[in-house]
């Protein structure tokens, strides 16, 4: 297992390298230049030339890339990821300050998803064709079709504007920073808008996985032993049905990141997604570059986690 993990981490390096190439190319091959925003006529030509030199923009692209990547990997250094074009703060500082908020939002959404989707999927599968199943399937279909940002708007309008039950934006009420209850209160709407679509997707998947397992021969064996229905479902079927669900875990990270970018913007949640949107708007290249790398890192970590979980749940997989 340890050697497997080590091998997987080694394998992740070329992928991260690939991501860095793509991200660098998108930003540095794009028409326009980061200094364009100073071309207002009020900044002297000499100053702009100085800035270009300062940022190293006058050097050939491969040189720029090598310089960027060699410092970038030293993430423990404050200046490793450069400085923001907007406020001059170190990018590492800006990003790491936002990581907890995003993890809180995504982690809660994921936990809520698992907590709801798996029992719902089991219920729908066990009572196939019943009213409960039909209602669940209908809601799951509609929920899956509802774009999370539209749902976010809807929730914001109903529960924050009209009913005033939950706050409109932010992570804490001013003056109550760090209080868990206040955080949860602020989390409800953004987590709901992220999780509902995920719950819809996961429960549909769980239902079909469970249905497939229920038709397997070993379920018949379990019944033939005289096992009660609950034992058949929760002991024999569930563990097998969960195996394919783990794949979803890896796949969900990118979609949660995308959802987070939008949800954080709608709810002004101080996370990575919100930072990405505002940094793209202000053409804050170092921050966008670092965020893309950070996102890639999270996706790879999610996939690795899924693979490790596979080995834990399925004895047929050995590394």
């Amino acid at each position: 297992m340890v050697t497997y993990l080590f091998r997987r981490l080694i394998q992740a390096i070329p992928i991260l390298f690939g991501i860095s190439l793509v991200a660098f190319a998108i930003i540095n091959l794009a028409p326009g230049s980061p200094v364009d925003r100073f071309q207002t006529g009020r900044v002297s030509h000499q100053t702009i030339q100085n800035l270009i030199h300062l940022y190293g923009l006058d050097q050939p692209l491969p040189v720029q890339y090598v310089k960027w990547i060699t410092t970038f990997v030293q993430f423990w250094r404050v200046d490793a990821w450069g400085f923001s074009f907007v406020d001059g703060l170190p990018v590492t500082q800006k990003i790491f300050a936002r990581v907890p908020s995003t993890l809180e939002l995504m982690g809660t959404a994921l936990a809520v998803t698992i907590l709801f989707a798996i029992p719902i999927g089991i219920l729908a599968a066990v009572r196939q064709y019943s009213w409960a199943d039909k209602i669940i399937t209908t809601f799951a279909t509609i929920g899956y079709a509802m774009p999370s940002f539209w749902l976010g708007l809807l929730l914001l309008f109903v529960f924050a504007v009209e009913l005033n039950w939950f706050p409109l934006f932010g992570k804490y009420t001013f003056g109550q920073e760090g209080q868990p209850l206040n955080l949860i209160w602020h989390l409800v709407l953004p987590v709901s808008s992220l999780a509902i679509q995920q719950i819809a997707g996961w429960s549909r998947y769980m239902r079909s996985s469970m249905l497939e397992v229920m038709h397997q021969d070993y379920i018949r064996t379990a019944r033939a032993k005289g096992l009660p229905n609950s034992g058949v479902i929760y002991r024999h079927a569930l563990r097998n049905a969960l195996i394919p669900i783990i794949t979803l875990l890896g796949l969900t990270i990118p979609s949660l990141l995308a959802g987070a970018a939008i949800t954080e913007t709608i709810f002004s949640w101080p996370g990575l997604g919100y930072l990405l949107v505002s940094s793209v708007n202000t053409r804050d290249y170092p921050v966008v570059l670092a965020l893309t790398m950070m996102g890639g890192f999270m996706v790879i970590a999610g996939n690795l986690l899924a693979d490790v979980l596979y080995a834990v749940v399925d004895p047929r997989i050995t590394y």
């Binding site: 064996t221 032993k225 005289g226 096992l227």
Partner: protein, 365 residues
């Protein structure tokens, strides 16, 4: 005959499919004597497995047991509540299945799965159950049972897994073991070993076995009594000697005729022509009439009665008990068999032609 352990009467199990009702088991009667082995034979899809699952009451939607009784020691299993039935399953009646590769749960160790069966029906602790599971594995001839009990099914071969299934089924000392094609998925040598094992355990325990197979060789080796099924119905029953030496129903004769035998080189391997009738569109007379080499006008009109043709031998056929049996018996002299084979070749070909002609007529209509 000895006393009867299991008595099945008028059992009907239907499946409600999108295209109509399939009468998978349609009025089946059978008896299994204490300590005896009943062989149930027939082509795939004739209702053998559904009969077994009906006895266990393991029929699931869209299937349903419509009618009948299954008496085990004078208790009608079909009248028990679901929880009472669970006490029977895996306890008084155990079952092993055709596919050892998929019949064990992949995420639990074999020892764990056997111990689970034991603990379901005996009030003992987890440790003790595990010890008994290891004992059972030893009993079914698995070497190094302590280690094997800690292994997962995927770490074992098919024959080994079938032994585990048998160990699991027998761990609760059942009165009746239902074995649904237990050796079909296995290699020939492993087949022999598994059958040998079942025989030994049967003698040791005086257990009854219901052995479902389409392999007449297995029947000849294992069974005391035989039930031949066709299209959801029992077409012939009798003890194994009668069935093999004096088969009455043309279908049974056909089955025996399609058995390859060593030393018989001349003549073709005989086949029963045609296929099992479509269960959604059963003919009104005898179900076998279309494939029967001795079909008579009455067969197409009226279903034949289930009548005793000899003491202890019952057959669902219009042929007289005296047996205007065609010369297809297995003891037929070689030259007769050869002539028969030649006839069959010719008719098979002309049959194909006429089918084509009929098809064309159909198009032209």
């Amino acid at each position: 005959m000895t006393d009867t352990l299991l008595r099945v009467r008028h059992l009907r199990t239907y499946f409600w499919t999108l295209d109509g009702i399939v009468k998978a088991v349609d009025g089946v009667n059978m008896d299994i004597g204490t300590g005896r082995t009943l062989g149930v034979v027939g082509e795939s899809g004739c209702g053998k497995s559904i009969t077994a699952l009906s006895i266990m009451r393991l029929i699931e939607r869209p299937g349903k047991i419509v009618e009948g009784s299954v008496d085990l020691d004078r208790t009608d299993l079909l009248k028990l509540s679901e929880s009472e039935m669970r006490e029977i399953r895996g306890n008084a009646i155990s079952m092993i299945f055709q596919e050892p590769m998929t019949s064990l749960n992949p995420v639990f160790t074999t020892g764990n799965q056997i111990a689970e069966a034991i603990r379901l029906h005996a009030d003992i602790g987890a440790r003790e159950a595990e010890d008994r599971a290891v004992e059972m594995l030893r009993k079914v001839g698995i070497p190094d049972p302590e280690r094997r009990a800690r292994q997962y099914p995927h770490e074992m071969s098919g024959g080994m897994r079938q032994r585990v299934m048998i160990a699991m089924a027998l761990s609760t000392y059942p009165q009746l073991l239902i074995a649904d094609e237990p050796t079909t998925a296995l290699d020939v040598t492993i087949q022999a070993q598994i059958l040998e094992l079942m025989k030994e355990l049967r003698e040791e325990r005086r257990m009854s076995i219901m052995l479902i197979t389409h392999d007449l060789g297995v029947i000849a080796e294992m069974a005391d009594d035989v039930v031949v099924m066709y299209s959801g119905k029992v077409v012939e029953t009798g003890d194994v000697f009668t069935i093999f030496e004096r088969p009455h129903h043309p279908y049974t004769q056909g089955l025996l005729g399609s058995l390859p035998r060593i030393g018989q080189r001349r003549g073709r391997l005989r086949v029963i022509e045609g296929v099992v009738p479509n269960p959604l569109n059963l003919p009104k007379g005898c179900l076998f009439a279309r494939r029967c080499p001795c079909v008579m006008p009455i067969c197409e009109q009226t279903p034949p009665p289930f009548q005793e043709v000899h003491p202890g031998q019952v057959s669902r056929c219009w042929l007289t008990p005296a047996g205007t049996t065609p010369a297809v018996g297995m003891t037929a002299p070689a030259d007769v068999a050869e002539a028969e084979a030649a006839r069959m070749t010719i008719t098979a070909d002309s049959g194909r032609q006429s089918a084509t002609a009929a098809q064309m007529g159909e198009v032209g209509r």
